[in-house]
Symmetry: C2
Subunit: 465 residues, 2 copies
Amino acid sequence: MTSQVQLSLFDLKLADDIRQSKYVVGSPRIESDSRESSISEFSESFPSIALKEKHIIYDSSNLCSRLNSSSTLNPEPTNTIITTACGANGTYSEGYTGSLEGPEKLLEIWFCPRDSSIQVPHNNSSMDSNVLGMRSIPLEDIEKMLMLVNCSIIQSHSNDFCDSYILSESSLFVYPNKLIIKTCGTTTLLLALQRILDLASEYCSYLSPFKIFYSRKSFMFPELQQIPHNSWDNEVSHLNSFFPTGSAYTIGNLNSDYWHLFIASLDPTSFQVSPKIPSKTITPPNKGDTTIEILMTGLDPKCMELFYCSEDPRSVEGLEGGKFVENSSGISSIYSKAKVFSYLFSPCGLSSNGHVDDSYFTIHVTPESNCSYASFETNVPLSNPNSDDINTLISKVIKIFGPSQFTVTVFYQSDDDDFENTNSSPIHKQPSFTTKKRIDNFTSTDRIHYELDDYHLHYSHFVKS
Amino acid sequence: MTSQVQLSLFDLKLADDIRQSKYVVGSPRIESDSRESSISEFSESFPSIALKEKHIIYDSSNLCSRLNSSSTLNPEPTNTIITTACGANGTYSEGYTGSLEGPEKLLEIWFCPRDSSIQVPHNNSSMDSNVLGMRSIPLEDIEKMLMLVNCSIIQSHSNDFCDSYILSESSLFVYPNKLIIKTCGTTTLLLALQRILDLASEYCSYLSPFKIFYSRKSFMFPELQQIPHNSWDNEVSHLNSFFPTGSAYTIGNLNSDYWHLFIASLDPTSFQVSPKIPSKTITPPNKGDTTIEILMTGLDPKCMELFYCSEDPRSVEGLEGGKFVENSSGISSIYSKAKVFSYLFSPCGLSSNGHVDDSYFTIHVTPESNCSYASFETNVPLSNPNSDDINTLISKVIKIFGPSQFTVTVFYQSDDDDFENTNSSPIHKQPSFTTKKRIDNFTSTDRIHYELDDYHLHYSHFVKS
């Protein structure tokens, strides 16, 4: 009932990011090639089957068995291409207006065992077949869930630790005990929240959500977003209907770039999707978790030339073109030991998913000059927690894209043991997570520190000096 | 033109603090006594004159001459009572609904000489007759300005450093080079912004604004506010029309208590109310400025009994009752050396203005249980910048009011000399401004640090453990 009342308010609320709008009326950049048709063309070389729900073209040789809950996991990494004739909503579909909303909606949900006698692998550590967790959700169900988001799977990769997907709009990572989904354009990510919780309940009955993060940068074209993403108020109302004890923040300068965050920490005893198994004391498996995002706008057109399909035969849509751009842009050298999968879209745009041991990184690039945007996200630990580490990483990433402005968010857990007896903030002890005031030729206009429950957030916004 | 376009949007925006609403429909707490009638009754003992604009009752023996721009300032502190039959809008006037909006709108404007050859006293330091600055604005003009805000003067006090006023809704402090005005209820503070700038231009032609702070806590009854205060978006639009380079922030948990801030730093060469005197390089006089606010809600009804007029003959409306409450509540012991003026309203409520050398503090109390609120604000320097100082002050203040929740904001300037070459935040070096995680029986739910231009803000919200 509460949820219905809140939803009925949606159409009364106005886009809250209206100041950010960069919508170009009559933009000359409308592209005749749609991502939809390009994907179909690209995927003709792969075997296909038709499902009831939608036309799906994919290599079925091992994917279904790999992800089926009753299967034994194949420990060898596999590359699988899945494309679909639907999806691509709000990006390069027929309705494409020349104004692609690059900034993504990002949802991360951590799960815990309801019964403490059942072990969940610590953080991203190696799994065995008894603890597939979220990875036991059948592919078909993930695809149906993604239909609610209005996007689809383009490519997938699995290793010992997780299943990763390049989507028609951004990326999805599924670990046994957490799910990270990031979708750009006019996707409706939060409309899939109930389905995700239902799937966790149905296929991984021992799992219960205990930590939820939802975040996004201010939109460039907020007026194009669908309910509930047409305003932060509506997104918060939607999230509150699931997690009434959550906290919502708007961080940064409302007259410039800013960033929204919803975070909820749940006691599994008070939130059960289905009460089949009673809750007991649990040990949250997120200790040491760190996530870094670098969100860049106003990208250098010269740097962006690489991110278009071109007459160069190596620069073609798909994984091959993706690998070429990955290597020539410098993406492949961010983490030298990473296993990276990149997809170059037609006419332009790149998505990369990378794996470093049990960690991931993901990059998405929208190169069009009227809405250029690139995002970098990782949970790869800062290898040397010395003072320059985060700043060196930022420097490496921004060199690839040449932004005029960028925002950095760093989430990390801190040891609060002596928090109570001191008046210093834990962030004071974590200089490795703090950005410098100046990085290369950029100056920070906002440096903001939030102490949130057991997490800490360092936010900074940089503009070219 | 820009301003008009923005203003036309006002009625399209909804109250952004709607989640905070504590409006009680059909509240039984409507009081039959209005502040208006009580003030008239109280002020009958003072000589009166009638002005064209409104009926004003006040002691005219020295006030006009003291504040007239051509007068010589009386260095002796004076107490003067001024009351008015208008004002009291949104508090205890006939329209009082039983739901008083205690949380104030706070505007602070710093001025600089346009011509560097003209000296402005540093910070709040002693003035001479050549640098009256904002204090040279005639009282009549201040009263007219306050009519735009929908409030009026109740009491005033002057010393060597400033003129302070207790208003029908909160307080006003006028220093030679800055003006601090804080108004509660449904006052329309920002509608007086143009008039304040005009007065500075007309009477203090050597002054130009160089720093503007506007802030307020989330409203309890946002739907009762008038344009532009009916939403933060509208307030920001209004402020942007004056200060287009300003920054706007919403700080804290949107699902709980939060706080809005607009801050603008102006180069006087780019913002001149009248270009009579050319701008030159200036030295901003705000070095070392610190402002602390403690905003309390859910006050202990037992503590609040003191803040009502009662059958006790000492507890009567006016300065006498104010002094009684000031002493019996503990307000007088916050700063032992302070000179304090307090006014007890009928049927309830207290406003106190205090002076400690060149600094001020101000307290406003709304004791009604359905909307109880108390605010404490000061720029008195933390005398001993050791680790416990801010926490000791907070502890002292909250004991007086017994809140269930409170928010602390600390604005301070920091020495950023080595900011560029380190990656640590300046706040790390200022532990004296950082609140503890726990104070008495309260726990901080949000601790947030903003680095804003040359100011730093420490925000924390506490709830009873």
